[in-house]
């Protein structure tokens, strides 16, 4: 019995050869991008010492590149970019709210504790 009342329950669960070619092309593109980003990170990390004047900029570059890599992995490799909009929000929004707050409070408290340790040392 052919049923037409079913929702295609898993988005993009099947595709044809042509669409597959397109997807594979995207995968290879992202692979090259991730490799290049990793190479840049390693070269910067090995070449620039942490006491160099430029270090704070490098540090932020690392953080931005990491977020970029993570973004590509989640959106392309894990297909979150192809899922329904609200699924994206359900996954990402609570996570970011919690983690950003945790980062803020951890660094804030660490600064306070350090000031006490420095005072008594």
């Amino acid at each position: 019995m052919k049923r037409d009342d079913l929702i295609e329950y898993s988005l993009d669960a099947h595709h044809d050869e042509e669409k597959g070619k397109e997807i594979r092309k995207k995968i290879y593109k992202v692979t090259i991008l991730l490799t290049i980003v990793t190479i840049i990170e390693v070269v910067l990390g090995a070449a620039i010492k942490q006491d160099a004047a430029i270090w704070p900029i490098i540090k932020w570059t690392f953080l931005i590149l990491t977020i970029l890599k993570a973004g590509y992995i989640v959106m392309v490799f894990m297909h979150l970019g192809d899922e329904r909009k609200w699924l994206r929000y359900v996954i990402l929004v609570p996570y970011f709210i919690f983690i950003l707050y945790l980062i803020f409070i951890a660094l804030w408290e660490a600064t306070a504790i350090k000031s006490v340790l420095v005072y008594f040392s």
């Binding site: 329950y9 898993s10 669960a13 997807i23 995968i27 297909h79 600064t111 420095v118």
Partner: protein, 343 residues
């Protein structure tokens, strides 16, 4: 839709007769699990950041701590871990290609790419084992407490120890014996226990011996904790040349115990504060455990693919779900790489 509810297939729709976000139950639950796991890793890395931020002594620097390659020795900052990162990224790519092949119902393709993913996973776990071995084993110089109370890590090429010539007999060795076995291990053990005084080593049987050793090359001290003379300040922390050699060997051959620390355990390590090694072991260990379970899950699913279980089912969603987990492991490593090795 409501009028047809009696003919809906419970396999494809959830109990409430709809599919939230147009995803299957299994896939959504995998996402929820991954969010909770991501919170765990987020919490671990943030607590690492917390400890590092409130630490009042110098924290280890990735490129100084991790600078060796298998068979080639020291002097290759970050290359090994870059290789590990690359292996994991590539195995993530092969996994996404397996998922893509699954969407085309290409059983052969799925099998091929999943096997590639499993091999990549084994390579990564193996690399991590080597990394741990090397971290625990430590460098040939160790971390040294100098005469003025300052603490320094040491870079350079350690001159090979040729032999010990016994100058004073003990229970086992007679005077004039030349010891040629287990030299490095004996040397490090004696140095840490304070059994070397002015170049004369006391062996385990109580005999004393002189050390024949090749010259070190490019011995460099990097002061991590200030003492009364040597400071850990930006301009003064690096000590090179003959001065570095004299400071190092004066301290190493002082005959005092615990002046030098080799490698790492949970109590002390040569790289920096105690917490550093603990976080290293816990976070990379927890991640390594995830990789290992990922490999096991991949193998199980791969067997299912080969047996044709998913082909009969009409879709390869199981491969997609394992894929999610495997990509997540890669995702975590991206962050571990940044916070442990780069920053």
């Amino acid at each position: 839709m409501a009028g047809h509810s009696e003919v809906l297939d419970s396999k494809t729709l959830w109990g409430g007769k709809i599919s939230p976000f147009s995803t299957s139950y299994g896939k959504l639950m995998m996402w929820f699990f991954l969010v909770s796991d991501a919170l765990t890793f987020g919490g671990l890395l943030i607590s690492y950041g917390f400890t590092r931020h409130d630490c009042i002594v110098a924290w280890p620097i990735g490129e100084e701590t991790f600078n060796s390659l298998p068979f080639l020795g020291h002097g290759y900052p970050l290359l090994y871990v870059a290789l590990m990162t690359f292996i994991l990224i590539i195995s993530s790519v092969t996994m996404v290609l397996a998922v893509e092949a699954g969407h085309r119902m290409d059983r052969k393709g799925v099998t091929k790419w999943m096997i590639a993913t499993i091999i990549g996973g084994f390579f990564f776990v193996g690399s991590q084992a080597w990394e741990w071995y090397h971290f625990i084993h430590g460098s040939e110089f160790g971390k040294i407490e100098l005469a003025d109370g300052s603490v320094a890590i040491v870079k350079g090429h350690f001159g090979e120890i040729k032999n010990f010539t016994v100058t004073e007999a003990g229970h086992e060795h007679k005077k004039g014996d030349i010891v040629k076995e287990d030299l490095m291990h004996t040397f490090q053990h004696a140095a840490a226990a304070g059994d070397i005084t002015n170049g004369i080593i006391t062996l385990h049987d109580g005999s004393k011996a002189s050390i024949t050793k090749e010259k070190d090359h490019d011995l460099t001290l990097i002061v991590k904790k200030s003492g009364s003379v040597n400071k850990a300040s930006k301009e003064k922390r690096v000590i090179k040349g003959a001065k570095a050699e004299k400071l190092y060997y004066d301290a190493l051959y002082s005959g005092e115990a615990n002046r030098v620390i080799y490698g790492a355990n949970l109590k002390q390590n040569e790289y920096g504060p105690q917490q550093y090694a603990q976080f290293f072991f816990f976070i990379t260990g927890f991640h390594g455990f995830h990789v290992f379970s990922g490999v096991v899950i991949n193998i199980i699913i791969c067997l299912g693919v080969v047996a044709g279980t998913y082909h009969k089912r009409g879709h390869y969603e199981m491969v997609e779900k394992t894929g999610l987990y495997w990509h997540f492991v890669d995702l975590v490593w991206v962050f571990v790489f940044t916070f442990f090795y780069l920053l």
